[in-house]
Amino acid sequence: MIIVKNLQKTFQTATGEKIQVLRGIDIHIEKGEKIAVIGPSGSGKSTFLRCLNLLEQPTGGEIFFEGQQINDSKVDIDKLRAQMGMVFQHFNLFPHLSVKRNITLAPTLLKLKSQEEADEEAIRLLERVGLSDKADAYPNQLAGGQKQRIAIVRSLAMNPKVMLFDEPTSALDPEMVGEVLDVIKELADDGMTLVIVTHEMGFAREVASRVIFIDEGKIQEENEPEEFFTHPKNPRLQDFLSKVL
């Protein structure tokens, strides 16, 4: 479904200094796979994820989505992004819109659904995450865990083919982490393809079909979770796991 070949990303800072963040990432992601991405802070995990839906423009290599190369100027970026959901660490709900409007804005603006259809779908999705009573609330009236569940629902309302999560629980109080992970786990069980950057090793182990370790802009190790966590081979990964587990 997603094929990444020798993906590179170099940022240029305001002072003209160049920082190479991704140094050649290769990965094939099959439909229905659940990829957990782990690695130290600053290693390029977010940049990798954001290259997948072109929130960052790669500076080298190729990305294919369903057979079509996407880092190509001919691609309609908006159409592509409409098929890929993204959930951010800081939720990024639209504070000026009600919860329901947050969810229905994109499907109606992009004419995928009528307002009535979108409203019904929004209520259905909100029920699924246990927040149907919040349809008319505004984001700032909600707790972090609720916000993140709604951000997930907002992405799902676009019927995406893949969901990208960038540390979806890192900004949450500990007692709210579980409710968000439960929603993601349910999505995974439903067969959604997902790529999730996370520090929740237990979750990665339980839900992922494959775990990848990124350090210094490269995939240093990838494996199915059992083997990955019990017999890490790369010394950096061993070191990393010894610190976080």
Partner: protein, 230 residues
């Protein structure tokens, strides 16, 4: 002649208060229309500036940004009265005075409103744009539906302040033959040969308007604070 007589002479004789009413009406029309024009133009200028600052560098963008830069420099670098007279006597010679004044004050106001709105746009978190774009919305849809509503809300008090300033700035409209509030006082003076009383009344009307608008500004600010929905 005592003061009561002067007031009577200024306001009541020959129904002279009607001059003040007409003048007030023109001042309000010019101010409101110019502000609307200023906000529309200012928003366009702000969007051009922000897109350019965010790295949009296409040929069209280069040209638009150059025009916007020139516009801001010229308008902010020259007095409004000169701009008004250039518009009236040079650019739009056959224009009706009031539309000419509306366009002049609108163009002038836009240059200041643009900066206000630009700062409003830039005060909206970058994550809002990313969320909009990642849902598949175009950059224009994201700007119109997500960024601008939040930006306007952030700067509504500043725009309202521009409105208050504009009420007073339009007092030079008399120079192109418009009977605004200030000019009305002048007309009364030329009939009564008493300068003090009409000027006092004109000043009083401006003062009442500005105090009233300032009260409304306070209400707007309180409303905005509440509508953060916290």
């Amino acid at each position: 002649m005592n003061f009561i007589n002067k007031i009577q002479e200024t306001l009541l004789t020959d129904q002279r208060y009607l001059y003040l009413f007409d003048g007030l009406k023109n001042t309000v029309i010019i101010t409101v229309c110019a502000l609307i024009l200023g906000v529309i133009l200012g928003t366009l200028l702000a969007i051009i500036r922000v897109n350019y600052q965010n790295g949009a560098r296409g040929a069209v963008m280069q040209i638009l940004n150059a025009i916007a830069g020139l516009y801001l420099t010229v308008i902010r670098g020259t007095p409004i009265m000169v701009q008004l007279m250039i518009m009236y006597y040079v650019i739009w010679q056959s224009g009706e005075p009031i539309p000419v004044a509306i366009v002049s004050f609108g163009i002038n106001s836009a240059a200041y409103v643009a900066e206000v709105i630009r700062s409003g746009i830039q005060s909206v978190d970058k994550g809002q744009t990313e969320a909009g774009r990642s849902l598949g919305l175009s950059s224009r849809q994201t700007m119109v539906r997500i960024i601008l509503p939040q930006a306007f809300k952030n700067v509504a008090p500043a725009i309202f302040n521009e409105f208050i300033a504009l009420v007073k700035e339009t007092s030079v409209a008399g120079y192109v033959g418009i009977q605004d509030l200030t000019k009305s006082g002048d007309i009364i003076r030329s009939q009564t040969y008493d300068a003090v009383t009409p000027l006092l009344f004109v000043a009083l009307v401006y003062l009442v308007i500005v105090i009233g608008l300032t009260q409304i500004l306070g209400i707007i600010e309180r409303r905005l604070a509440v509508s953060d929905h916290r």
